[in-house]
Every structure is written in C-alpha cells, then in structure tokens.
Symmetry: C2
C-alpha cells in the first residue's frame, strides 16, 4: 500500500485547485470543497461546469469527509451533484452550513446528507487525518483554511484568504495559529494564488467603508448598490451607512434576499427590522431617504442591474439623480457586458460609480506582499500554488523562489494531476483524463465539446435544411427549405430562389438513383451559400 | 439656410465620436475619419461593424473632403465602403495614406479615389473650412489632430493623442500649435476620452524601451514579442533591441509583415536588411540570437499567438526557455481569450510577460492629467468629449467641470446626435435613427439584430427540424429529423425515439387535415424537448 499522501486537484483547465481537492492516504480520502465553475464566453449554451470527479467513483466508500472552506459557489456549488454519489458528511462553519443547507433542500437531498457544523479552532479527527480549521478573512464571513495533520506531516490549505487587519466583522485572520503550525513544522502549503500578479497588499474592507461614507453623506438622490449576494460584509456596510444617514434599505434580487435572510438568521448580518422596507415601498419615501441593495454586478441580463439598464424592473426605474454603485469587480469575460450596462445606466440619467473611478470595492484575495507574508509565516517545505490560472500559479512560484523556496519544492500543476508527498519529497503524477463536466439545461455531463462546437457553427453561420422530392432528374413540386441565422429572412427570397435553382441543377445533372443525390446537393448548396453570403452554414439535404 | 455649424458623430452605441464625425456648414460637408468597430461577444457571426452613414446618402455631393487623423482600423477601416458612395478626396499624412492606399487597392477602388497627402503644419482650404493639421503623439506614427476654422469659429479635433514628451520617433506633440489656437480663441474642442477613468499621466513609450532592454539583456532563449501590427513604434523598439543585443529578427503574421513593409518603404521604420531573417530560417540560429515579432495580442485563434498556443504554427513551436511578450493591452471582451492563450503558452514551457506583470506596454491615449492639460492649453468655450463609451465621456465632463468649464457648455451625446454650434451657443438635436451596419460574410448591412438573435437562440439551444408524412391519423414511415446543438448526437437516439412518439401521438390525436398539424406538433415537440433537455431549440415541422 502506498504510504504517501496523494493530493489531487480536480477540475478543468481554468482555475486550478480552486473548486475541489482530494487528499488521499492509504484507504482514506478527505475532500476539500466542491464548487462550480462558470462557463466562458465560447462555451455556448452551457449553464455551469462541475469538476470531473470520475476519479472518485470507484472509491466513494473511502471518502470520510467533505470539508468546506467557505460558502461561495465556486466552493460549494457542486455539492448537489457530488452528494448523490457520496455518503460521507459535509463539515462546515455555521454560515457556510446554512448556505449549503439551502442548496441541499433545493436539490431534495437535505434528508440524505449529514451536515456537521464546526467552529474555527475546533479539532476534527477524521480517520488518520487530524483537521484543524483556522479563521481567515475573505469576502464572505466565517471562512476557514485547514491545517491537516497526516501520517506524512502537516499540510496547510489556506482556502481563499486575505490578511485584512480591519475586516468589517472585526475578526482578523488567525495569524497565531499559522505561526503555531509553523513551529510544529509544515510539510506542505497549498495557497491561494488569485492575485499573484497584483503587487502590494490588498486594501482592507475599511477602505470601502470610507468611500461609502462619503457617498452616503453627499448623494442627494437614491443610492443603489450592486454587489455579490454572498458579500455579506458589503451588505453590512451598506446597511450601516443607510442607518447612519437616515435612509431606509430595500433588498432586491432573489439570491440577495435569500442570502441576507440566512445571514441575519444566523447572526452574521446585523440589520434592524425597522431599517428594511420592501422594494415595492420605495416610492413612499423621498429619494434621499432610500438605499437599495441589488444583484447583477456581472452583467447578467436577468439580474437587477441588467433589468434596470433596459428599464425592465417591476418596482424600480432609474431616474435622474440616482447614484448607482457597482461594488464588485468584473470577472474576466464579463467586462464587456458590465460596461454596456454601466453605459445604459448613465444613458438613463444615473451617476454610476465603479471600481475604476471610485474605491467602492476591494478584492477578497491576498496580493503579492500578503502571499510572501504567508510563506514566511508558515515556512513550508513544499508549496503547491492553487486557486488561479496557470499564469497566476507561475507568478506565485516566482514569488516563492524569491523567498528562498527551491524551485524543485514548488509544484505548479494542472487540475487532474495527482501529487504524491512524504517527508522526503513531492512527486508529480500523470494527469488524469477528463476535466470539465458541463451542466446544460436539464442534463449533467450529456453535453460535451462536440455539441458546443456544433453550437458555435450555428452561432456563426446558421443552418440550412432542404427536403427534396426528386424523380427522373426532376424536382417534384418545390423543395421544403428550413433555414435560420444566415441572413435576414425578410431578405431571403432571392437566396432561396437561387438555392432552389441549385438543387434543380444538381438533380438534373445527376439524374441517377435518389439515394446518391443528397451529398452532391449538399456540396452544391454549401458552395452556393458561401458564394452568396460568405457563410458556411450547417447544410443537410434529405432526398425522397 | 442654417448658418450654424452642425457636428454629427456617426456610429452605434459603443464608442462615441471615434469612428466618423461629420462637420456641416451651409451646403458644405467635411468628414473626419471613417473607421470600423469590432463586434462584441454577443454579436454572433458578425465580422465587422461600420458606422451607419445613411444620413449622408442624400447629400453626398456636398461632401468636400474626408480628413483622416491616423492609420488605425477604427479610423480608416470603413473607407472601402464609404468611398463607393462619395467622390470627394481623402486627405491623409504620408504613412496614413500608404495604409489607405493598400486598402483601396484591395477593394479595387484605387483608381476611383483621390488620395491627397498633407504634412502636419500644412494649411488646407476646403470650401469654407480652413483645416490646419497639427502633430500629435499616439501609438502609430504620423498622427494629427485638426484645427478647423469655420465661419462660426475655430474648432479643434484632437484625434487620438497622448502628451508623450519622449516618443520613439522623437516627434513630440505640437504644444505650440495648440497654444497658438488658444490665443486665436477656440470655440469648441472635440477631445479623446479613452482613458478618462485613468488618473495621472500615461507613461511615455520610453518606459517600454527600458523594460525591453532589461528583457533582451537577460533572456537566455528566444524572445517572441506580440503586438498590434499598427504599433510601428513598438516594432522599432524591438528591432533596435535585437540590433543592440545581437539577435536576428523574424516577422510573422500577415498584417505585421504588410505594415512593416509599408512603414519601412515610407521611412517610418528603420530596420536594416541584414537584421531581418525569414521565419523559416530561425532554426539555423541559436535560441539566444533570435527575436520574433508576431500578431495575435487579442486572442484571435488564427493569429500567430493563437496558433502557437495550440501548437499549430508552421514554422514556430514554443519550447522551454522561450520568452513570450504580450506588448499590448487586451481590449475589453477579449481578456478571457487572451488569458487562455497566455495560460497555454505557459503550459508549453514559455515564460510569458504581459501588461499586468511587466511594463511591456503603455497606452496610446491621454490620461486624466493630460486631458486637463489639453483643456487648459486650448481653453475652449465648448467641449465635446469624444472617443469613449458613455462612461468615459461622463468622466471627461466631470474633469472639465473641475477646470471651470460650465456644465451647459459640455455636450455629452451619443453617436447619431447632431450638435449645432455658433459663437452664442451649442444645441443638441434629435438623435438620428440607425447606428450600426453589420458586415457579415459577403454582405454589408444585410444582417441585422433579428438574425443575430436567431443565431443566439441557435447557439444556446440548437435546432430541431422534422419532416412528417401523415395520413388519416398515422405517420407514414419514419419522420425525417434533422437536429444539431441540443445534445450530443451519439447520445441522441433516446431523445429522437421520444420525439417520434410525440409526433405520432399528436398526429393520432388530431387526425384532421394535414395542414393544421404542423403547429400542434411543433408545440408538442417544444414541450417534450424542454422537459427532456431543459433547452428551447428552434423547432420547425413540415407535414405532407
């Protein structure tokens, strides 16, 4: 039996070690996080992506625990899928457990899944793994990393972190615990690489508070703040400002309402009842007494900001004098849509503040100086940069080398690559096949790249289907043609006429058995459509 | 007759006043620039966008000149379309004229279009307009802005500019001319707003030179620099470094080779013959004697960087030890593809430098302090912020207000909005209909939003076409079904079987005339496909 610790990050070629990591020693497995990825712009029609955990399927009985670092979708979103296959309990802090519980209920799994709540500073003995959660600061409350004592040594997994000395919840990261791990001797550190290309130190949440204070002090009209629904600390800040400057607070957007409710119930959000009003009530108050928190910072057309930009929100219409704040950053790939929405809000008369022009958002992840502090605090023998694209991991490695960690002790790998570890060394295994599993409509994993490539062809070129009744070199009646996405159907009559002539010409030329006619007609139509429109649509012909 | 000056920026809702601006006084028109826009991610299948110049079509005889500020595509790319309708000459500086000439030859318009070359400091009398071009610094040589003396006063159009005191071609912007305009009294300033949300002063091209010097001094392997093909000054810098550090230079990518050729011929690029080698020759030299300039900074899959990322370049394969430099910024909307390519280049063993981690690119546009300097230098009565999205124009206005220009003297408008101007005032007219004209495959303007919406539906949901032969409540034979983009065709047999049953059920239930069957079958198939796949494909049924 292998007496090394095996660490395998699972997922596709996007961010590495972010969504799910498997720790395996002898016949015991613990999993850290089980999150979703969001599709990129060219993954057409795909709703979500989950890590390909096929690797686990023949050893599900070995899984002893799923440990969750925090309640963001990219760390918990795959649980409704994973937990259909695995019986082990999920371990989480109270707020994270509350968010997972909602998910399990929606997936009708609440009765089948054991959810064990722990607090930072508890010690969990799970088989041969001794797990010590430690508090970290991030952009949602109740976040932890894990110190995992394994038979080969102590491994530290940071989760998502920043070293914020003045977080909104006044609960700074647990530096002492990290120092204590360091004294015991850390074999391996897995650390967040998100901002490895950002110099300096990520500003504290305090900075945002100052920007909001100025805004609330000066704004004459309504204030509408869009942020991530999970960014409870930001919601707290906005609520505090509303309280301070005599405004009522309305909350709009489903995920925002849901999260606020759970966070208030569990005591992570302190918002008095009499501060809150329903979004339907806002017109009963003067503009300068209204603050609103909303969803839609990523340009999603169906979220609140997207609907406001198009004038399609039921209870709220942007008016001259409104101040709209995008208190979030745009995830790469979303900028174009986000800026389009910002432009449209300006067009409707709002003044819009966003990250580039006002300090209304700070990152939840450590920047370079914090990453260096972490490494020098923990002093690991081996480093596995996680949570970043390959470019971030490489940059994290460059930083660690500056601090004296030898290059051969730093493993930059892709998702699906097992690492084997003991006190003597770290070896990199062969990458497992697979990576992404697409969630598409009602299906999980039924849609792969081949469908996405078909969709891309349809998106760029459209399709053209013809049913042809041919006999003795003549077309009987008119071919039935169905086509979309090539040119405007109102202008298509000439094109269709030419297509019919093309079909008739091929039928006449070949004048052989009907069976052999479909391919020649398709080829002739492809040539004709390309010549006329410059497009290469999907063409299929059925000959009777 | 209207004795006011009418200024109309043309184009869609993207960047405003960037691609084409019409100046109209009595029965004379001059046009500044005629450029293309690039499609956004959701403009599926669209190749390019040109401004909607329908407004000009009934007064083409009034157009006396098309004045071009510089040779970038977003300022000259629409000329091959516009010049099919307009007989007036194009005025441009030598390099810009060289680039336009190539375009006119490609469009077979070279013999029909008069191209008049001017130098910065010439004075052009065009009807009642006296046009004084003045040199500005930007990211392509030979750029100008225009001082246009009209019967109502002096109007200054900056073109694209930055106040670079140490540009690569040692030709700083013409501050003296701007000061002189100021003394004469400037009625209206149209000024570049691109970087209105960037504080400070855009760094000089000199900064990039220092970064390249360090890179060329230290790199042990090959150096591959990707940049914009029009960024002649960057190409000059790379050539100079190759010369300085004893490397041969290969140029790859069609637009890069074409532009280099023209710029060398016209004397804007000083690259000795013996420095250059063909890309096919690179393997004859040791790695540390090779530098390469290439295209593909925006993640285009068919450009050099995209092909290198996938290992599909004929003459060049990335190897361990290569340094790849992205000497460009990623245009919003392109980041995701650019980062994907950067990650893949890392994966292939290259070290990749890009804007966020090294000073290998600077913007060609003025930042806030330069924008303020411009306003205080020119001291216009009226300001029209141009060249930016609405959010940039608004920010430009905010800066100008800080400098004491009254809000009512600043016109933030969208493309298609005519402004009327005389010494007494500036009035904003009604926005003209139209905006974008899509160039799609072989067509100009034949594809509109309705086709793009069809393509979006196909991209998200696919299509399903069925041809049904029905008689007396029975389906004769099997329906012919053509479908793509819904689910993987290898997994589709169950879905198709269910669809056939659905069709048979409807045919049986209705058992009426064939004519009325198509809609009920389509509706039943839509319900069935949504229930099975969660998708809403385009469905069409033909019943015989």
């Amino acid at each position: 039996m292998n007496s090394k610790l095996r660490i395998t990050p699972l997922g596709g070629l996007g961010e590495i070690g972010k969504n799910m990591t498997v720790f395996e020693y002898e016949d015991e497995i613990i999993i850290v996080d089980a999150g979703v990825m969001f599709p990129e712009n060219d993954m057409l029609g795909i709703d979500l992506i989950i890590p390909d955990y096929n690797y686990l399927m023949d050893k599900t009985d070995k899984v002893k625990a799923i440990l969750i670092t925090h309640g963001h979708e990219d760390h918990i979103g795959a649980l409704p899928h994973l937990m259909r296959h695995i019986e082990a309990p999920i371990y989480a802090t109270p707020l994270t457990a509350g968010l997972i519980d909602v998910k399990m209920r929606q997936a009708k799994l609440a009765n089948d899944v054991e959810l064990i709540i722990f607090e930072a500073d508890d010690v969990l003995q799970i088989g041969q793994f001794q797990v010590e959660p430690f508090h970290v600061a991030h952009s949602i409350p109740d976040c932890v990393g894990f110190g995992i004592t394994t038979p080969v040594g102590l491994v530290v997994h940071t989760g998502d972190y920043k070293f914020d000395h003045t977080p909104t919840d006044n609960w700074p990261p647990d530096f002492a615990k990290l120092a204590e791990f360091s004294e015991r001797g850390v074999l391996c550190l897995l650390a967040d690489s998100t901002n490895a290309d950002r110099p300096g130190w990520t500003p504290s949440e305090k900075v945002v508070e100052e920007a909001f204070d100025k805004l609330f002090r000066e704004a004459k009209g309504r204030i509408i703040v869009a942020t991530f629904a999970s960014l409870i600390s930001r919601i707290q800040q906005v609520a505090d400002m509303a309280q301070r400057y005599g405004r009522k607070l309305a909350i709009t957007g489903r995920s925002m309402r849901d999260n606020t409710k759970i966070a208030r119930k569990l005591g992570y959000l302190d918002v008095p009842d009499d501060l809150l009003i329903d979004i339907g009530q806002i017109d009963s108050y003067p503009a300068h007494e209204i603050a609103i928190i909303a969803t839609g910072t990523q340009g999603e057309p169906s979220a609140v900001m997207g609907r406001l930009a198009l004038g399609r929100h039921r209870n709220l219409t942007i008016m001259e004098g409104d101040t709209v704040v995008f208190s979030a950053y745009a995830i790469p790939g979303n900028e174009e849509m986000v800026y389009r929405i910002i432009n449209r809000l300006f067009q409707r008369g709002a003044n819009v503040l966003y990250e580039r022009i006002a300090k209304v958002h700070v990152s939840g992840h450590a920047s370079q100086e914090e990453m260096k502090l972490l490494i020098n605090l923990v002093r690991p023998k081996f480093l596995i940069p996680i949570h970043g694209e390959l470019r971030h991991l490489k940059q994290h490695k460059a930083l660690a080398k500056q601090l004296g960690i030898p290059a051969e002790n730093i493993a930059v790998v892709e998702n699906g690559t097992p690492l084997e570890l003991d006190e003597n060394g770290l070896t990199i295994g062969e990458r497992l096949p697979g990576g992404y599993v697409f969630i598409d409509g009602a299906g999980v994993g039924e849609v792969g790249w081949s469908v996405v490539r078909d969709r891309d062809k349809l998106a760029q070129n459209g399709f053209f289907v013809a049913y042809v009744n041919a006999h003795n070199g003549n077309v009987i009646g008119q071919p039935d043609i169905v086509t979309r996405g090539i040119i405007d159907m109102r202008e298509a009559e000439d094109l269709l006429e030419g297509a019919r002539e093309t079909i008739a010409r091929v039928v006449k030329t070949y004048a052989t058995s009907n069976k052999a006619l479909d391919k020649p007609i398709e080829e002739a139509l492809e040539r004709y459509l390309y010549a006329e429109t410059g497009k290469r649509p999907f063409v299929q012909v059925i000959v009777k």
